[in-house]
Point group: C2
Chain length 331, copies 2
Amino acid sequence: MVGRRITQRDIARMTGVSQATVSLVLNDRADSGVRIAPETRQRVLDAIRATGYVADVVGRRLADRSNRILGVFTYEPVFPSAAADFYHPFLIGIEERAEELGCDLLLFTSTPVVDGRRRLFEGDNRMRLADGCILLGRSIDRIELERLVAEGHPFVSVGRRDGDSVPYVGADYATAVGALVRKAVALGHRRLAYVGTGGPAESHADRLEGFAEACLSTGAVGVHHPRLDQAVRGDFTAILLEEPADAGEAIRALEHHGKPEVSVVALGEPTRRSTTPAPKDLTRFRTPRREMGWQAADELAALVGDPASAPVRRLLPCELVEGVTLSAVHH
Amino acid sequence: MVGRRITQRDIARMTGVSQATVSLVLNDRADSGVRIAPETRQRVLDAIRATGYVADVVGRRLADRSNRILGVFTYEPVFPSAAADFYHPFLIGIEERAEELGCDLLLFTSTPVVDGRRRLFEGDNRMRLADGCILLGRSIDRIELERLVAEGHPFVSVGRRDGDSVPYVGADYATAVGALVRKAVALGHRRLAYVGTGGPAESHADRLEGFAEACLSTGAVGVHHPRLDQAVRGDFTAILLEEPADAGEAIRALEHHGKPEVSVVALGEPTRRSTTPAPKDLTRFRTPRREMGWQAADELAALVGDPASAPVRRLLPCELVEGVTLSAVHH
DNA sequence: CCAGCACGCTAATCCGTATTAGTGCACGGC
DNA sequence: GCCGTGCACTAATACGGATTAGCGTGCTGG
C-alpha cells in the first residue's frame, strides 16, 4: 500500500474507533474532559507504531496547532557560497538550538525571488507552515515586517529592525563602533572617515550612529563617505569600513596614494568575498553571529510556546579584535 | 493587538459573492467550465488588491494534498563547519532544485543523536512530515534503509547504497579510481598502494573495488593499506588516498622517509580539515556533489509525484583534476 | 426499581481553499 | 406560452486534524 499518506481515519478504521478517538489518543490531553480506556488507547498506539503514522503538518496547522517546526527565511539562498560564509554562523546557532529544543527547521527555499530578492507576501506565504519564523537578511522590507506583526505571525528577526514591536536579537553595532572610535581617538586620531552606505539597513545605520555619537562626544572630526575612493583622497588618519571585505582594497589604495600610515579598521563581518586579499591582523570587531542565531531560535520557541509573551528586543555585545591596522598617530 | 488573516470568505462578503467565486477569480482557470462576468471579476480583484489578500498556503496545501516539503536527513548536523565544507555542495544542489520546484526544505534537526549519529527510527519518526526525503551521509544503517523501503517512505539517497530497490543518485567512484590507476600505469607505475578503510561505506567500497579491478586488468600490483604509515614504508611508486585531507600528511611523510618522488593521488573530496596543508595541485578527481544534490531533489519530486515510478539508481561521472602530484616513473 | 451519574466514546463542527454538480435567470425561437 | 439553452454564479463537499457537545451504557444510591 504505497502512495497515499496514512491519516487518522486509516488508524481509526484499523482499530475500530472514530477519528476523534485517534486524535484524542495522540494528543493525550489531560485537561480536556475526555477519557479513553487504557486498552483502547493501547490499540490505537500500536496501530500508530505499526504504520509509522505522523500527523500531517498541514492538517495540524489548519486547526491552529504547532508542529515543532521553526521556519527560517533568508532574503538570499542560504547555501551558495557567496552568501554562505556570512550566513553560516547564524545557521549553526539556529541549528544547535533547534536540535536542543527538539525542533526541525523549515527552509523557505520556495519563496519567489522578485527584483533580486525574496518576498514574503508574493505568491504563497508559506510562513504559516512553520510554527514560527526566524528572519535573516541585511535589510527586510518595512511593509512586510509590519504586516507580519499585524497578522500576528510569530517571528524573531536576527538583527535589529526598525518598527514597533518587531522582536529581534541583534548586535550592538553602535557601542562597538563607538568603542573603536574612542580607541582611535586615544591613539591620537582626530580626523576619521566612515566608509559605507550608513543605511538604510539597520545594521548600517546603527554603525553610522555609533560613529557619529562617538565623534561628537570625543570632539573628533568624523565624516561619512559612501565611497572608498573619496575617503582615500581625503585628509584622514583613520578609515572605518562598514564592509570588511573592502579592507585589502583600502590598504592598497592608501599605499598607492602614498599614505601607508593611515589606519584602516573594519566594522563587523565581511558579507562578500574580497577582491583584494585582506590583511591578516585587521583591527575590527566580531559580530556574535552564532549566539545571535542561537538566541533567536530560543526566543522564537518561547514565543511559540506563549504567544502573549513580550517580544524580545535584545542587542548582543560585539567582541573587539585588536589587530595591527589601527596605530598611533605620530606628530 | 493581532489581527486575523483575511480569507476568501472576507473578500466574498465584501464583494457580495460566494467564497467559491473568489477562489475561481483567483485561480482564473480557463479549462474549468466555470465563467465569471468581467465586472464581478474586477470587483473581486479590486477587493483583493485593497486588502492585500494572499491565499493561505495551509488551506491550499490541504486542498491539493501536497505539502511541497522535501525532507533532508543527514547523519550529522549540517551546518557546523567541520562537516559543512563536505556537505555544502550537496545542499547547494538540493536547494537550487527545490527552489525551482517550488518546494521548501525540512531539515530534520530534531532527530535524536544516539551513539554519535542520528537515527531515523528513534523516538517519533518525523519523516512523514515531509512529502519525501533526501538522505545524506557517509554510511546509513542498513536496517534503517530496509525499513524505509518496507514502509514505503518516498526517499532518494545521495550516494549509492547497498540493498534492493534503494533509490539513489551516486558518484561513479569505481570508474574514476580505475581511470586514475590506468593513468598511473600508463606513466610507468607498477606498485600502487590504496590507503583508507575500503569500507564499509559504499563510497569507500566502490573506490577499493575500482582500484582492485583496474590493478587486475592492467597487471599492476595493488595493495590495500588501511593506514598511511604502512603505505609510506612500503615499496610503492604511487599512493592513492581515500581521504584527500591526508595528502599533505602523506607528502610530508614521504619526504621524511627520503622518497619525495613517490606520487600521491586523492580519490574525491576531503571530508574533514587537513592537519598538514594539502598541496595546491593535487592530482585527484571531483565528486559532482552539486549535481548529485540537484538530481536527488529532482528524482525525489518525481517520486512524490508518481509513487509508482521506478526508483532511480544512477551513478554520475567524476571529473579528473590533472594536478602535478602524479608523475612518470623514472627507471 | 429508577433517577442520577460517571465513563468511554462519537458525531458534528471548524480551520481555508479548490472543485464540481447544479441552480436560477434571462433570452430566443416557435 | 412554453421549452431549450447558455450564462453567471453558488451550494456542497473534500482535504486532515482538533475540539466540544452529547449519547448510550452500566453502575450506584435512595
